[in-house]
Structure formats: structure tokens, C-alpha cells
């Protein structure tokens, strides 16, 4: 018994340790994932700024890379009208352009011009306008009188003048090489001019006395960063995105409640930066939104592990019960064997130690005892053996024609001799004979009758057998008026080695009878069930197919 207890205690401890460990892991996992999610969201907050900026700057890039170089395609043929149309398309497509200054100028090898000379080449403005969109969506243009003193133009003039001076006319310059000359990017504005083409350069640099005049255009685009449309591609990350001056210091009005990040704008917007901010609560909400599915996944894993643990525990429990049953059985069985063996032993030693010659009466008496006890042992062993065989399905059904009337009467007669006080009655309805294995059926009858006798109080030893044929089956009803079976035990009585603890089975029971019967019935493709009322009697119903 101590061994049992020991096993049991050990199990419980393990379970507790297991649960504690699991819960600990769960808590840790949830905490860690939450922490990681927070870190992830915060790093997303800082890395996704680039995507927002790219998206926001796309129109600017398009202006810079595609629209502005289109000026070059006009090859210096811009007039006020066409330049105004071009500016108009710029204003409508790129709302952040607030003004376009247009200079139409000539490059010539004129040497005595009144304008400033750029390395011997005369660069002079022939007309200049500036365009700006007016409120009605129309374009306003006005002659730019201060054009000649415009810094933008002076700068570009110097650039192109320098380029002409140093140009290598033996080869074609690629767009990449002339980028620095055709573009000038200053904070807030982009200037662009179409640089002289190879043929022009050759002509300008050749020492001919002929006058060569080439027309060129330059445009300066004034940009308004506040009109940039901010594309918040991650509204869940950034509560507010704004364009601030580069010197704007977020710490000035930060009350430690905000997460912020800044990224300087490229090119002509370099005096400004994109400023991203989100409140802590906003970020936490985002963390939780991100965390929920992860937390749920952790929980699911946890539940799964718990479920497996419970299943393992249940199996252990069942095994434990089975172990206990078998232990009981061995106890019982040993006991069962002991009685006939000790009787045989006593009888044997009496016979050997008789000092006088035994009488004939004594001889008969011992002989009977030995015979009977040997039968008992034999019977015990047969039952154990056949039960094992049955369980292993190693016996064969030998079907024979059974005349029920005769078959039942034979058992009633036998038991009436064995237990004279036993009241056995039998009724057969709708059926005369059927095919089955008489040995197996006999065993069922024997067990049922034996049980009914065993579990009945001495004054109520009665059993009524009802046999009725239905369409497909034969129904055997064994109704006794015995002690009955408690409700909570009804499920157990057909289990192997199970015995109801009662005064009626102290001797000669191993708890195999009903289990044996159930195996037999199942073996014969039938069913067995029981209805019972405590202290009033039980009714076993066996249904066998024809």
C-alpha cells in the first residue's frame, strides 16, 4: 500500500510543478512579446519615415527628373506664350511650385556687347517674365524688370560661361556630365537652363568672325514646402506629420508625452524637414493592436500544452486504476486458490499422518474432499483460461441447433439440485430453437444464474428467465429480486476484476463473471445491458442475433 501512496504523491507534485512552470512561461512569454512588440513599433516609427518621405517627395522627384528637363526639349524656342503654357502645366501638376521665373537669353560670340561677358562669350537676356498662379487658377505673368540683376541668372550665366570655356568639343557630353551645369539647386528654388549643344559649342569656340547667336531658356522654380502634400502611408504609426524648418527644435514644446522623429527633405527643400509625431497613448494603442494577435497565439500554444498535460494526467490516472484492479485481482485470486489448496493440503496430511488405518468412511470422506477441491481448482483455472482466450479472440464459435426448451430446463434442473432453495422459473415465447454455440451460451446462463443466486438475500433467492424471439434477435431477460446495484456502480460492473464491495461476495468471487459474460455476448455479436434498483432486484437483458 505504501508504494501506491508514494506513486500518487509524486504525480501530484509533478503536476503542480508543471502548472507553475507553464504559468511562469506564459507570463514571461506574454511580457517578452509585449516588450518586443513595443520595440518593434518604435523602430517602425523611426524607419517608416523614409517611406513617407519618398511618397511625399514623389511629385517633387517627378518635377525634378521629368518635367524640368522638358525645358531642354524646347531647344531655346520658348516664347512668353509657350513658356506660360509650360508654367501653367507645372502649376497645375505641382501645386508646391509657387512661382516660375523665365529668362530667354542668347549666347553669342559677340565680343563688344554691353552686357557682362562670360569668358569672351556674350550671354544676354532678351526677355524675362515671371509666372505665378493667380487665385482664379489662371496664370499671371509680368515682365521681370530686374532680370539682369537677378542672382539666379548671374549664377547660371557664370556656370554656362565656364562650361563653354572649358568644353571639349570632340565628344558628346552625357546628361549626367552636364547635370551640374544645367541644374542649380538652392534652398527653395531650382534653376534649369538648356545648355549649349555640341554643334553650338563648336561654333562658339571656333575662331570664325561670323556672328553666331544661339537662343536659350532658363527657368527658376520657386517652391513652397508648405504646399507639399504629405502622404502619410502609415496613419497607424504617425499621428501627425508636418513640415518644419530645419532649425525647429522639438524639445522646446515637448512635454515628454510624445514620440517624435525628423527627417530632412532633399534637394531644394533642404531647409525643411518632415516632422513626425505620435502621442505615447497613440503608440501604446498601436503596440496593443500589434500585440493582440501575438498574445492570442501565445495563449493558444499555452492552452495546447495544458491540454496535452491534462491528457497525459488522465492516462496516468486510468493506468493507476487498472494497476489497482489487477492488484486486487491477484489478491483475490490467490485467496481463491488458497482455500482449495489448503483443504487438499489438510486432507493430504491427514491421510499421511493417520496413525491408524483409516476407515472406509474416512477414506470416502477424504476422497470426496480431494475430488471436490480439485474440481474447484480446475473450474477456476478453466474460467481464467477461457476468459483470456476470449479476450484474445482465440476461440471459435461452433454453431449448433439449440432447442431452447430443453437447454434451459437442463440448467434449471442442475441448479435446483445444487441450490434446493433457489426458485427458478422460465418462460419462452415466440421461439423454439436457434443456432448458436451451446458451450458459450451455457457459460452465459451459468454465470447469470450463479450471480442471481449469489447476490440475493437468503429469503429472496428467485430468478425468472424470459426468452422472447423478435424479428431479428432473441432477447434473454434474467430478473432477480436480489440486492441490486447502486447507480454509481452500474457502469463498472462489466469491467474486469471489478467487484462490488458487499457481504455476498466474500468467498469464491474474482470479479470476472459479468466481464466474462459481456465478452462472450460481444463475441457472439450480441449486447448486454442492465437495469437495477437497489435492494429490489436487477434485470439483465441479453440480446443475441439469430
Amino acid at each position: 500500500m505504501t508504494k501506491q501512496k508514494y506513486i500518487y504523491r509524486k504525480n501530484l507534485l509533478l503536476i503542480i510543478a508543471f502548472i507553475v512552470l507553464l504559468s511562469g512561461i506564459l507570463a514571461a512569454a506574454l511580457l517578452i512579446t509585449f516588450g518586443l512588440t513595443r520595440k518593434f513599433v518604435e523602430s517602425e516609427f523611426s524607419t517608416r519615415t523614409i517611406a513617407v518621405m519618398e511618397r511625399t517627395m514623389r511629385p517633387y522627384d517627378d518635377l525634378f527628373r521629368n518635367k524640368i528637363p522638358e525645358i531642354n526639349n524646347y531647344r531655346g524656342f520658348f516664347t512668353k506664350k509657350s513658356a506660360s503654357e509650360y508654367a501653367d502645366s507645372v502649376f497645375s501638376d505641382y501645386p508646391f511650385v509657387k512661382r516660375v521665373d523665365f529668362y530667354h537669353f542668347t549666347i553669342s560670340n559677340h565680343t563688344n556687347g554691353h552686357s557682362a561677358k562670360a569668358e569672351g562669350k556674350d550671354i544676354a537676356i532678351s526677355s524675362a517674365y515671371h509666372f505665378s498662379p493667380d487665385s482664379g487658377g489662371k496664370i499671371k505673368s509680368s515682365p521681370n524688370v530686374e532680370a539682369k540683376s537677378s542672382d539666379d541668372f548671374k549664377l547660371m550665366k557664370a556656370k554656362v560661361g565656364g562650361f563653354i570655356k572649358t568644353a571639349d568639343t570632340s565628344r558628346l557630353y552625357s546628361v549626367e556630365e552636364t547635370y551640374g551645369i544645367s541644374y542649380d539647386i538652392k534652398p527653395g528654388k531650382i534653376s534649369y537652363l538648356n545648355i549649349p549643344r555640341l554643334e553650338e559649342l563648336k561654333d562658339l569656340l571656333s575662331n570664325t568672325s561670323t556672328l553666331s547667336v544661339y537662343q536659350h531658356d532658363m527657368m527658376t522654380f520657386y517652391l513652397d514646402p508648405n504646399k507639399l502634400v504629405i502622404r502619410n502611408t502609415r496613419p497607424e504609426l504617425y499621428q501627425k506629420i508636418s513640415i518644419k524648418q530645419i532649425i525647429y527644435d522639438p524639445l522646446q514644446d515637448d512635454n515628454d508625452q510624445n514620440l517624435f522623429r525628423e527627417i530632412p527633405l532633399p534637394g531644394a527643400f533642404s531647409e525643411y524637414k518632415l516632422y513626425f509625431q505620435s502621442s505615447k497613448a497613440f503608440i501604446t494603442a498601436e503596440v496593443i493592436r500589434n500585440f493582440l494577435p501575438i498574445g492570442a497565439a501565445v495563449l493558444v500554444v499555452y492552452l495546447f500544452i495544458v491540454c496535452i498535460g491534462w491528457l497525459i494526467y488522465r492516462n496516468l490516472n486510468v493506468n493507476h486504476k487498472l494497476f489497482k484492479l489487477q492488484y486486487d485481482f491477484i489478491n483475490n485470486f490467490t485467496h481463491e486458490f488458497k482455500t482449495p489448496v489448503s483443504v487438499i493440503k489438510i486432507a493430504g496430511s491427514n491421510l499421511r499422518n493417520a496413525e491408524t488405518a483409516i476407515t472406509e468412511r474416512q477414506q470416502r470422506h477424504y476422497g470426496k474432499i480431494l475430488d471436490e477441491e480439485a474440481d474447484k481448482l480446475n473450474d477456476l483455472m478453466n474460467r481464467l483460461l477461457s476468459f483470456t482466450q476470449l479476450e484474445n479472440k482465440s476461440i471459435q464459435i461452433k454453431k449448433e441447433e439449440i432447442v431452447l426448451d430443453e437447454f434451459v430446463q437442463k440448467y434449471i434442473d442442475t441448479f435446483k439440485i445444487k441450490y434446493p432453495k433457489f426458485k427458478l422459473t422460465c418462460r419462452i415465447k415466440n421461439v423454439g430453437s436457434f443456432e448458436s454455440d451451446p458451450v458459450l451460451l451455457g457459460s452465459i446462463f451459468q454465470n447469470m444464474i450463479e450471480n442471481a443466486y449469489k447476490y440475493s438475500p437468503p429469503d429472496r433467492k428467485e430468478l425468472n428467465i424470459d426468452i422472447e424471439g423478435t424479428k431479428k434477435d432473441i432477447v434473454f431477460l434474467f430478473t432477480d429480486k436480489g440486492i441490486g446495484i447502486p447507480k454509481n456502480e452500474i457502469d463498472n460492473i462489466f469491467k474486469k476484476f471489478y467487484r462490488i464491495e458487499s457481504q455476498y461476495n466474500q468467498n469464491g468471487s474474482v470479479g470476472l463473471g459479468l466481464a466474462f459474460c459481456k465478452e462472450l455476448v460481444n463475441f457472439m455479436n450480441g449486447e448486454i445491458s442492465v437495469k437495477s434498483k437497489l435492494n429490489q432486484g436487477s434485470e439483465f437483458k441479453i440480446v443475441l442475433p439469430y
Binding site: R75, G76, F77, T79, L172, S174, S212
Partner: protein, 614 residues
């Protein structure tokens, strides 16, 4: 499927690309004394001048140069003068070879890339004097010079005030007629002799043409081609004193007079030619008539032309050609009527393997009759053919009936080749020509489109297998077609295409600046028609190209950057662009032969892939 499978079986052997573009001999001339024949022979990159003694058959050679291009001519005292433009450096050289001694001397050498030289006249009386125009003083102005090839003395004969575009020489090289242009109006100027001043005698809008040919010898009358007060150019006779047109010597109601043959040596009109569906001619001189009649008899089926002659007019060089004949040169002796074949321009081609060029005509959308040519591939039913549309490479030009290596190459590869003389094309009269004014990207393009639709309606073209291929202006037309008629063309091939009308104007060379106002009227003004230019220029419409495109290099790609921008823009449409323009960019004015061959090989592959023709 079945038809194409069958036609595959019957298809003729493919002629290798090389064979089409393999002219080995060219520029045949006969010496004034009738003793020598001179010609160029090209072997790989080397060009050689061959001088053959007719009587002995002995050939002397003189290597001209590698990597240069030029021409040669004879003076009346039997000197050969060679003009040479260097490919690499862009310089110009004039040299002379004495036929008898084979001594070479350099007459002129100008190291200027933009040199423009044109011979105006050789003198019979003073055979040492050459009269020519050259832009040495100012790259934009062509002055008349006289060079003594014996002494090497170069003198300016007439200083161009800047607006004179043409000078017309007498048989002695004297100039009494010139043409000036203010860009829109052309004026003919006349002077009595070298000591008097030029006076304007008649003035015309550039849509009209008066082209003096020579003085008749009677009074101050001169022959001229003119379409003043008539639609088609005719050969007329004009009095220089009062600028009155005296009489029409010859006119055709079908077409403009194209060429007028005038013998400067004998000072007489010989023949006029013009282009109808096929070339036509009318002979004005009885002796020539007899010679042509004999030649026609000896060379049936071919177009015959006298290309050169000696001063005695006994020995003639004869050129023959046809749609399937790349050209042959014969020596004809008038007295004996003996005809000796000197050379085939392209001996590697068997005329029987080439395809017939058929004149066609159709009604454009607005009812105008448009002419063109269709070359069918050999051995095919004339239905459901893959077609290559080839707009001519200059707007103000035309396709003529005759041998065209490009056309024959494509036809040999199984494509029908379609050439349209859309409005604006020359030779169909003033009205048709000026109908193309300011119609670049307008009616001119519509005519091509209408032509293709006509081909489809006639079931000649397989509507799914039409390609368009053109160079320069033709490239513009091809790209325009692919941009604005996206469903019509399966693919587009261009060589050095005109991408930007603005660039076209900034590319106008300095000496052509006087012609700008005329170009403004013909094409449009880049300043006032900027909208139109923007709307039609491929560079502004790259996003509309949705079919596979192949771009070939032209000779000296001036606008490589523009082309590169255009190609990358087209690639953004997800279109497959084969760009070989950048790889073989060369700085010479002429596309080397091997590049041309590569181009045609690539074109063949490209068409095969995109039209599924093999």
C-alpha cells in the same frame, strides 16, 4: 495557317543581307577626250580610283583614302579632280590627278568640319579654271570661287551678300543668273556681264519654283523649270530682260518635270524626265532620240540614262536600272552602236530573285488621291501578308520607282513593303506639295494611316502583322504612327529618328538659316506653334508607345542624349525596346557599311520576332 505554311514551302532562297548592300564600283566618268574611263572601286574600307584606258584596257589605280568619301570629275583638259571629305576629322580636300602622268597634287585643303563645297562649272575655253561655291569665309554663306588648277590660284569670283542660294553657270563658268532667298520669297537676279550688277528680275513665293537651266543663246532668253501660274513644273523659256515666260517647251499634266538634260558642251536641250508611276522621258533632240531608240532596242526592259560622254559625243556611259536591277554601266559608241558592259553595280544579286515594285494609289480619308508603291514578296498569294510600312526619310521628298536595296531586302524576307507618297511629297505638283504644309503630324500622317487601312481593306495586309520602319523624318512618322495609332502597328523600327521638332530647328545648319522662315511655313514655327510641336513630337509623347520598338544608330547621332531620354521613357511603359543606337555611335557623317549590315540583320530578327515571319 495553311496559307502561310504552304507559302513557306514555296518560299525562295533568302539572299544574304550582305549581297543587297554590296555596291563595289561607283561614280563612272569618261574623260573629255574619250580615252579613259574613271571610277571608284571599294574594297572593304579602302576606296580606289581606277583609271582605265579604253583602247588598251590597262587599269591604273590610285588609292584615295581610308575613311573618307568623295567624288571626282574631269576637267576639259583631262585632269581628274577629286573631292574628299574626311570621315574622322571632318576636313575637306581637293586634289587633281593628271590622267597622262598620274601625278597627284593637292589643290585645296581646308580643315573645317562644316565645309560645304559644290562644283558649279568647268570651262571649255579655260579648262584650268574651276568655278565652285564654298563656305570658307563664313560657314553660313556660300561664295563663288574660281580656282586655277594649274597655278593653284584661288580667287573669290562672287561674294555672296548672304541671301543668294543658287548660282547658275554658263558653259564657260561665268555667272549671269543667281537666285536669292529671304527665306520665304525667292528672287532670280540677272546681270548682263561680269562687270554689271545683278538685278532682280522676278520674285516668287517659295511655293513656286523657277529654276534657270541655261541661256538659250537667243537674246537674253533662258530655259528654266517653272511652275509659276501652273500646278506642275514645266520646261519653259524666260526672257531675262522682262522676266516674261515666253513659251512652254514641255509640260506633263501628270507630274512635275523632274530633270532637264542640257548639254553644256553643245549648248542644247536634250531631254526632260518626270516621274509618273514609273519614270518617263521626252527627248527633245533628234540625235539623242536616235541613240535612245538604239539603246532601248539593245537593252529592253531597263530604264536607260546617259550618265557621261566625251566632248566628241561619240562615247557615252550608259546607266541602266529598274526595280530589280541595282544598276549596270555600259560604254556605248555612237558610231558603231557598240555596247560594252563595264560593270554591274551589285554583281552578287540575281535580278530574277528580286521582287516587283508595283505602283498603287488609294483615296485618302478626305478624298485626295495618294500614290505609293507596294513591293510584294515573291511566290506568295497577295493576301494576308505581313507588311512593313516605310515612310520616306524626308518629308519633302518622294519614293520613286526603281531599285531600292532596303525594300528588296525586306521583300526577300517575306514582307510586303509599302511606301506612300503622302501629301507634301514632291513631283505631284504644287498643290499636292503645299497640301503638306504644316501637316507634319497631321494630314501627312493621316495619308500613311489611310494607306495602311486601305491595304487591310484590300485584304493584302494581315492586320495583325504590320510594322512601320523609317529613318529621320520617316522615323518621326513611324513613332507618330505607333503613338497615335497604337492598334495599327505590331512593332516599330526607327533609325536616328526625328524626335523633337524643336531640335529639328535648332539643328538647322548655319548656312541654311536663310531658309528658316520657309521651314516655319512648311513645318511650323517653334515659337508660335510650340503647342503643335509639343503635341506631335515623339519626345513629348513617349508614354504613348505601347508596341516593341527597335532603335538603330544613324550616321553621327547629334541628339544621342535626347534619344537616350526617349528610350528610357518608352521603357517605362513596359515596352520591349531594343536599343542599339548607343553602341555603334560614330562621329562620322556616314554610316559605315558593317553598321548598316548589322542594322539590317537586327531589323530582320526584330521583325521576325514581332511579326512572326520566317
Amino acid at each position: 495557317m495553311l496559307v502561310s505554311a504552304l507559302s513557306c514551302h514555296r518560299k525562295q532562297e533568302q539572299i544574304p543581307v550582305e549581297a543587297f548592300f554590296n555596291a563595289q564600283v561607283s561614280n563612272f566618268h569618261i574623260s573629255p577626250n574619250g580615252k579613259y574611263i574613271s571610277y571608284f572601286k571599294r574594297d572593304k574600307k579602302k576606296q580606289t580610283l581606277i583609271l582605265r584606258n579604253i583602247a588598251t584596257g590597262v587599269e591604273d589605280t590610285s588609292v584615295i583614302d581610308q575613311g573618307s568619301r568623295g567624288d571626282h570629275f574631269w576637267t576639259y583638259n583631262n585632269q581628274i579632280v577629286i573631292t574628299k571629305y574626311s570621315r574622322k576629322r571632318g576636313g575637306f580636300q581637293l586634289s587633281a590627278i593628271d590622267a597622262a602622268t598620274l601625278k597627284t597634287r593637292t589643290l585645296l585643303s581646308i580643315d573645317n568640319e562644316r565645309v560645304s563645297f559644290r562644283l558649279l562649272g568647268r570651262s571649255v575655253k579655260h579648262p584650268d579654271i574651276l568655278t565652285f561655291i564654298m563656305n570658307q569665309r563664313d560657314s553660313t554663306i556660300l561664295d563663288v570661287y574660281r580656282l586655277n588648277i594649274t597655278t593653284g590660284e584661288l580667287k573669290m569670283y562672287i561674294k555672296n551678300p548672304g541671301n543668294v542660294t543658287q548660282f547658275y553657270t554658263d558653259p564657260d563658268g561665268g555667272i549671269r543668273l543667281e537666285k536669292s532667298s529671304d527665306g520665304v520669297n525667292e528672287t532670280i537676279l540677272y546681270r548682263q556681264n561680269d562687270n554689271s550688277d545683278f538685278k532682280p528680275i522676278l520674285s516668287n513665293n517659295f511655293k513656286n519654283l523657277v529654276e534657270p537651266i541655261a541661256f538659250t543663246g537667243v537674246g537674253n532668253y533662258f530655259y528654266a523649270k517653272s511652275n509659276v501660274n501652273r500646278d506642275k513644273i514645266a520646261l519653259v523659256d524666260i526672257n531675262a530682260d522682262n522676266a516674261k515666260e515666253e513659251k512652254v517647251i514641255f509640260s506633263s499634266d501628270k507630274a512635275d518635270i523632274d530633270e532637264v538634260s542640257y548639254s553644256k558642251y553643245k549648248q542644247r536641250l536634250e531631254m526632260v524626265t518626270w516621274q509618273e508611276a514609273k519614270p518617263k522621258r521626252h527627248i527633245l533632240d533628234a540625235r539623242m532620240n536616235a541613240i535612245y531608240a538604239d539603246l532601248e532596242q539593245q537593252l529592253p526592259g531597263d530604264e536607260i540614262r546617259i550618265s557621261d560622254r566625251d566632248t566628241t559625243e561619240q562615247n557615252f556611259l550608259i546607266n541602266t536600272s529598274s526595280d530589280r536591277n541595282p544598276g549596270s554601266t555600259y560604254l556605248y559608241t555612237a558610231g558603231s552602236k557598240k555596247l560594252v558592259k563595264l560593270a554591274d553595280m551589285n554583281p552578287g544579286i540575281n535580278q530574277g530573285d528580286l521582287c516587283e515594285m508595283k505602283p498603287i494609289s488609294f483615296k485618302a480619308g478626305d478624298g485626295t488621291l495618294i500614290n505609293g508603291y507596294l513591293t510584294y514578296p515573291k511566290n506568295t498569294d497577295s493576301v494576308n501578308l505581313p507588311v512593313v510600312v516605310m515612310p520616306h526619310s524626308d518629308f519633302w521628298n518622294r519614293n520613286k520607282w526603281g531599285y531600292n536595296a532596303e525594300v528588296q531586302f525586306l521583300a526577300n524576307r517575306g514582307y510586303a513593303v509599302f511606301q506612300v507618297n503622302y501629301r507634301g511629297s514632291t513631283g505631284y505638283g504644287k498643290e499636292f506639295y503645299s497640301a503638306g504644309f504644316k501637316q507634319v503630324g497631321g494630314k501627312m500622317q493621316d495619308d500613311i494611316t489611310d494607306g495602311v487601312e486601305w491595304l487591310i481593306a484590300q485584304k493584302i495586309a494581315n492586320p495583325k502583322k504590320i510594322a512601320i520602319f523609317g529613318s529621320r523624318f520617316g522615323g518621326f512618322s513611324a513613332l507618330y504612327g505607333a503613338s497615335f495609332h497604337q492598334s495599327l502597328y505590331a512593332c516599330v523600327a526607327v533609325q536616328s529618328p526625328l524626335l523633337n521638332m524643336f531640335t529639328y530647328f535648332s539643328d538647322v545648319p548655319p548656312f541654311l538659316k536663310p531658309k528658316l522662315s520657309m521651314l516655319y511655313e512648311m513645318v511650323g514655327n517653334p515659337e508660335t506653334d510650340a503647342d503643335q510641336f509639343r503635341a506631335i513630337s515623339p519626345i513629348f509623347n513617349a508614354n504613348k508607345i505601347k508596341v516593341p520598338l527597335i532603335v538603330f544608330p544613324g550616321p553621327r547621332e547629334l541628339n544621342a542624349n535626347e534619344l537616350a531620354t526617349f528610350i528610357s521613357e518608352v521603357k517605362k511603359n513596359g515596352v520591349h525596346v531594343t536599343d542599339i543606337s548607343g553602341k555603334k555611335n560614330n562621329d562620322s557623317n556616314f554610316l559605315p557599311r558593317e553598321h548598316r549590315l548589322d542594322m539590317y540583320k537586327d531589323l530582320e530578327k526584330f521583325l521576325e520576332t514581332n511579326l512572326g515571319q520566317k
